[in-house]
Symmetry: C2
Subunit: 325 residues, 2 copies
């Protein structure tokens, strides 16, 4: 297998050798997909190449501030006027992720596949894959170094956006020293980090806000103030139009209250079963706690499923938590 | 006035010249105060000095994971057994900030004042003040470079904690390229950034959670889904035991909903006056909008006070918002 450096050079050559490129990313593009598309576009524009940026659907409104975001064609409105022999796919783990944009790929199109997903299956003629990169934007940060370009705030903001969003605001475990060193360089170029964080990181679905509200309405605290819990019922889920994804983060609210050591979300699956999510502020090993109920997890985030009614599960779990405090 | 480099060297000399130090920070210590106290303690222990770390009160529980956090004496439990001739004050903008710990300062004590607050009045015999440092921990990062020390995860975690908390998770405008470059180095030393972010950044008061819940219960959306608003009444504030500080961040919830361009918090001050907080996702200049009501602010965050009842203010503001969309 070729090294990352070799792949970088091969990709550079691919970008230098041809004249007309299509740049696409995955359906329902996230921050990394959009910013990687734009970063490649910016590079091609610097190289004086013809190119077209395309997505199956629209770019999220919150990303409209990005340089040339309005020039990414939205197929549901209007596709390009031609097919392309040279295509650059960014942030797409497999070919299907490009959605319907493949209709504009020539039958004999050569694809450069630039991505950071560990599951990427190498579908390109050129494959620039770095599974331990925090974002495709990180790979593009490296790729752009191979060209003698004068970086400006536009390209810095694009790369920063991909790094910021794919690391959850520099909070996920993929936030490597390399990411932070890159961020330091990008800030020097005038990126408005605080504004981007506010705009990009704090989006919620309406269902998420509604179900959060329902859950908070059930908030209870132990007399000692060190355990706090909320619950969510199937009725809540239906009333809010919420999916399990919308419950993500709710358990942090009880855990985050001052003085609380253990925060708990009791999610009623059906009248005879409750999913218990446990979060610790550090003192209690909730993985061990969850194990006593046949569950598991990490020391600060764990869970278990208990086959009993909510009214039985709550005192049972609270009693066990108390033994750990 | 002496340069930052000169102050750094003067502080280094102060730390090398004497044998027994008291290290204190401000009352109700935050992440920067605690981690700066510990960073100085770590340095003194490396230098083989005698020292005592002290605070007027307890260290927040969430910071107990820090190296030797349990060795910071809590005056309400037990103070040191002696007075000190050499004192290091960290993160204290003025002498009063040290609280009652000054009782352990000898009458002729020499103080090294290490701080980043622009208002610091230079109360020390040695003053190491850098107003554009994001945190006192940033200054200590620089100071520690002047000694030939082998950094480990303990000291890296302490410095990281100060940077993380005083920049609001690398989201405030003080998040400079220098901070991020330092963070990159600290991560290389094994700091668990994701865990620290979770533990330290997400704390809320109980009143804050309660008043958030009340506010979310009033959530409404425009038919277009592009404006969302909540309100809070004086009754809500009393019922939740909430202060104005506890309202901080609430307006972001309506603003953060997918598709929403303008989020609004209407805070009833009294039956005839409403404070209107406006947040934009980017499209609408809410500063201009607020100006039409005699208010002001920034393009994405603005506010105004309107002398009318809530039932009049809401439609009035919504009508004006609509004109901007
Ligand atoms: Mn990605
Ligand atoms: Mn500070």
């Amino acid at each position: 297998m070729q090294s990352y450096e070799q792949s970088l050079q091969q990709t550079r050559d691919f970008l230098l050798e041809h004249d007309d490129y299509l740049v696409v990313s995955h359906v329902q593009p996230d921050g990394d997909a959009v910013s990687s598309t734009l970063a490649v576009g910016w590079l091609l524009s610097c190289l004086g190449k013809k190119y077209c940026m395309l997505n199956e659907g629209p770019i999220p409104k919150r990303m409209e501030y990005l340089w040339h975001a309005d020039q990414i064609l939205n197929m549901t409105l209007a596709g390009p006027d031609r097919e392309f022999k040279h295509v650059i796919c960014v942030d797409c783990a497999d070919f299907q992720r490009v959605g319907l944009t493949h209709r504009y790929f020539a039958a004999d199109a050569l694809i450069a596949n630039i991505d950071h997903h560990p599951t990427n299956n190498g579908y390109g003629a050129v494959n620039l894959i770095k599974p331990d990169a925090a974002a495709t934007a990180e790979i593009l940060f490296d790729l752009l170094q191979l060209f003698a370009l004068e970086w400006n705030t536009d390209i810095a903001t694009a790369i920063y956006t991909g790094l910021l969003t794919d690391t959850g605001g520099f909070r996920y475990t993929n936030t490597s020293p390399k990411v932070m060193a890159a961020v330091s360089e990008l800030l020097k170029l005038g990126v408005n980090g605080p504004e981007l964080a506010e705009t990009l990181l704090e989006e919620m679905t309406l269902a998420q806000v509604k179900v959060l509200n329902r859950a908070l309405s059930t908030l209870q605290l132990s007399p000692e103030g060190d355990v706090a819990w909320v619950h969510v019922t199937p009725e809540d889920m239906i009333a809010c139009g919420a999916s399990n994804e919308d419950l993500e983060g709710i358990v942090n609210y009880p855990r985050n209250i001052q003085g609380v050591e253990v925060g708990i979300l009791f999610k009623v699956i059906h009248p005879g079963a409750v999913k218990v999510s446990l979060r610790s502020a550090g003192k209690v090993d909730v993985a061990a706690l969850a194990q006593t109920f046949g569950g598991g997890g990490h020391t600060r985030a764990a869970g278990a499923k208990i086959e009993a009614a909510l009214e039985e599960v709550i005192p049972q779990v609270l009693e066990e938590v108390r033994r750990y405090l």
